[in-house]
C-alpha cells in the first residue's frame, strides 16, 4: 500500500539510530571479542583466545552459575508469590485495587534506591533486619547478610523479588480479568472448592500470563547488574558476581575491552537461547 520509496523514507530515521547504536555495535562487539583491545591504541587480533580464557578459568563459569542461580530463584519465587497474591485478590474485590497499587509501588523506584535501602536493612549493626530479629529474641539469626557468601545472593534476590512482585501480581490479575466469569461460576455450581477451581480451572487458563511473567522476569534477571553492583560489588568472594557485573568490571575496572566483548557475546547467545526456548515451551503449553 505504501510505495517502496516511502517505506525507506519512513524507516530511515529509525534505521539510522538503530544502525549506529545497535547493529553496528553488535558487529563491533563480535570483532572486538577477537582482539585484545584495551580501549586505546591498536588492537591485536588474537583469535579465540578470549573465549578460551572464559572457558578455562573457573571465574567466568562461576559468574554464569551465579547468574543462573539468581535467575531461577527470582523467577520461581516471584511467579509463585505473584500468583498467590493475584489468586487471593481475585477473590477479594474489596481490597483488590488498593493492594494492587500498593504492591506495585516498589517497581516505581530505581535499582539504586532499592539497592541502597536494602543494603542498609541487611547491614550487621544498625540494619533493620537484624534489629527486628534481636527484638524478636532471635539474636542467633542476626548476621551480616551481605557479608556471608552463603546468604548474600539470596538476600539480593529477595530485594529484587520485593521490587517486582507487584508487577507479576498485576499481570496475573489482568489474566484473571480475561477468564470469563461463566467458567468460574460453572465450577462453583459443580461444587468445586476454591482450591479446586484455582488448581484445575484458573491455573490452566492463566497460561498466557505465566508465559509473559516468566519471560519478562527471566530476561530481566539474566542481565542483573544494578543490585549486586550497588549492594555488594560482586562480593563476598565472588558470591554475587553476575555475568553483567563481570562485563562492566572488565570494561571499566580493567579496560579489557576485547575480553568484555567476548563475555558480551556469550551473554547474547545465552539470553537468546533461553528466550527462544522459553517462548517455544511456554506457548506450546498454552495450547494444551
Amino acid at each position: 500500500m505504501t510505495s517502496y520509496r516511502s517505506m525507506i523514507l519512513f524507516t530511515l530515521p529509525a534505521m539510522i539510530v538503530l544502525g549506529m547504536f545497535f547493529v553496528y555495535p553488535i558487529f563491533l562487539t563480535f570483532q572486538m571479542s577477537l582482539t585484545n583491545f584495551t580501549g586505546v591504541g591498536e588492537a591485536e587480533n588474537i583469535g579465540l583466545k578470549n573465549y578460551d580464557r572464559i572457558i578455562s578459568r573457573s571465574r567466568y563459569p562461576d559468574a554464569l552459575w551465579v547468574t543462573v542461580k539468581f535467575t531461577v530463584v527470582v523467577v520461581l519465587i516471584q511467579t509463585l508469590l505473584g500468583l498467590a497474591f493475584a489468586a487471593m485478590l481475585h477473590r477479594l474485590p474489596a481490597v483488590r485495587n488498593f493492594a494492587r497499587a500498593a504492591l506495585f509501588t516498589p517497581a516505581m523506584m530505581s535499582f539504586v534506591v532499592v539497592g541502597y535501602v536494602w543494603q542498609f536493612i541487611y547491614s550487621p549493626f544498625s540494619g533493620g533486619l537484624n534489629a527486628m530479629l534481636r527484638g524478636a529474641g532471635l539474636d542467633w539469626m542476626a548476621k551480616g547478610w551481605l557479608g556471608d557468601p552463603d546468604t548474600a545472593l539470596y538476600a539480593i534476590a529477595f530485594a529484587h523479588i520485593w521490587m517486582f512482585t507487584g508487577y507479576t501480581t498485576a499481570i496475573f490479575l489482568a489474566g484473571y480479568a480475561n477468564i470469563s466469569s461463566d467458567i468460574d461460576e460453572a465450577g462453583r455450581l459443580d461444587g468445586a472448592s476454591s482450591w479446586q477451581r484455582f488448581r484445575h480451572l484458573e491455573v490452566p487458563l492463566l497460561a498466557p500470563s505465566f508465559t509473559i511473567n516468566i519471560m519478562l522476569s527471566t530476561i530481566g534477571t539474566l542481565k542483573t547488574f544494578e543490585l549486586p553492583f550497588i549492594m555488594t560489588r560482586g562480593g563476598p568472594d565472588g558470591a554475587t558476581r553476575t555475568l553483567s557485573l563481570e562485563i562492566i568490571e572488565q570494561l571499566f575496572g580493567q579496560y579489557r575491552f576485547g575480553f568484555a566483548s567476548a563475555l558480551s557475546i556469550i551473554m547474547l547467545v545465552i539470553v537468546i537461547a533461553v528466550a527462544v526456548f522459553q517462548n517455544w515451551y511456554l506457548r506450546r503449553r498454552e495450547d494444551v
Partner: protein
Amino acid sequence: MPALNIRQLLLNVLVVALVVAMLLPLFYMITMSFRTATEIAEAPLGLPDRLAWENYAQAFGGMNYVRAVINSVGITISVTVLTALLGSMAAFPLARNTSGFARIFILLVALGLATPNFVTITPIYVIFRDLGLLDTYLGIILAFTALNLPLAVFFYVGFIGAIPKDLVEAAKLDNCSDWQAFWYVVRPLLGPATATLSLFVMLMVWNDFTYPLLLLTDKDKFTVTISVYRFVGNQNIQPDMLFPAAVLGSLPLLILFAIFQRRIVAGVTAGAVK
C-alpha cells in the same frame, strides 16, 4: 451465610496485613530519613525523636537535586518523544508490508527486544568516545532511544496492523501522500498506544542506572538516579545521607504514581501483555 462472611473478612485482613508487610521497607526508608546517624546507631528501629530536616537540606544540596531533576525530566521527555515518533513512523509502512526489507527489519526489531544492553555497551562507549558524544545530552538521548526503539516499532506494528486498512486507502484515493496519510489519518489514532508505550519508556529511562553511570561523568549532567548513587557513594555509607537521598530520588515518580496509580498499573500491564 455468616460463617463464610467471617472467613471472607479474615482473608481480607490477612491480605491487607501481607500488603502492609510488603510496604514496610518503604515506611522504613521514610522514617529513617528523618533520624540522625546517632539515633539510628543507638536504636536501629525507632521513630524519629524530632524531624531531622537538616538531613534533607544536606542531601538536597549535595545531590544538586534541582539540576538533577531537570536533567532527568529533559532526557526522559526527549527520549519518549523521539522513540514514539521514530517508532510509529517506521511501523507505518512495516505493519502491512511483507517484502524482504520489511521482514528483515522486523527480525532486527525482535533481536533488539531480546538483546541486553550489556551486549552493546562496550562498543557504544567506544563509538561515543570517538564521536565526542560522551558526557553530552545528545549522546545519552540517542543511546536510550536506540535501546527503546525496538519495543516501540514492535508495539506500533501491532497497533497499526489493527487499524482498518480502508481508512488509509480512502485517504490515498483523496490524493493524500503517504506522509499525509500517516500524519493526518493514522497518527491521531495512535493516542492510546503512544500513552502506554510512553509510560514504559519514561519509567525505563527515568530509573535507568547503567547508561548514565557509564556515559555521564559531568556532575551538571547527572540524572536523579546517578546523583543519588554518587552522593551516597559506595564506601562507609551514612544512613543520614542514604535515606533522604533515597526518598528524594524516588519522590518524583512516587508523586506521579500516587496521582495516576490506576492508569499507570493498567498501562504497564496492558503493555506487557501485548
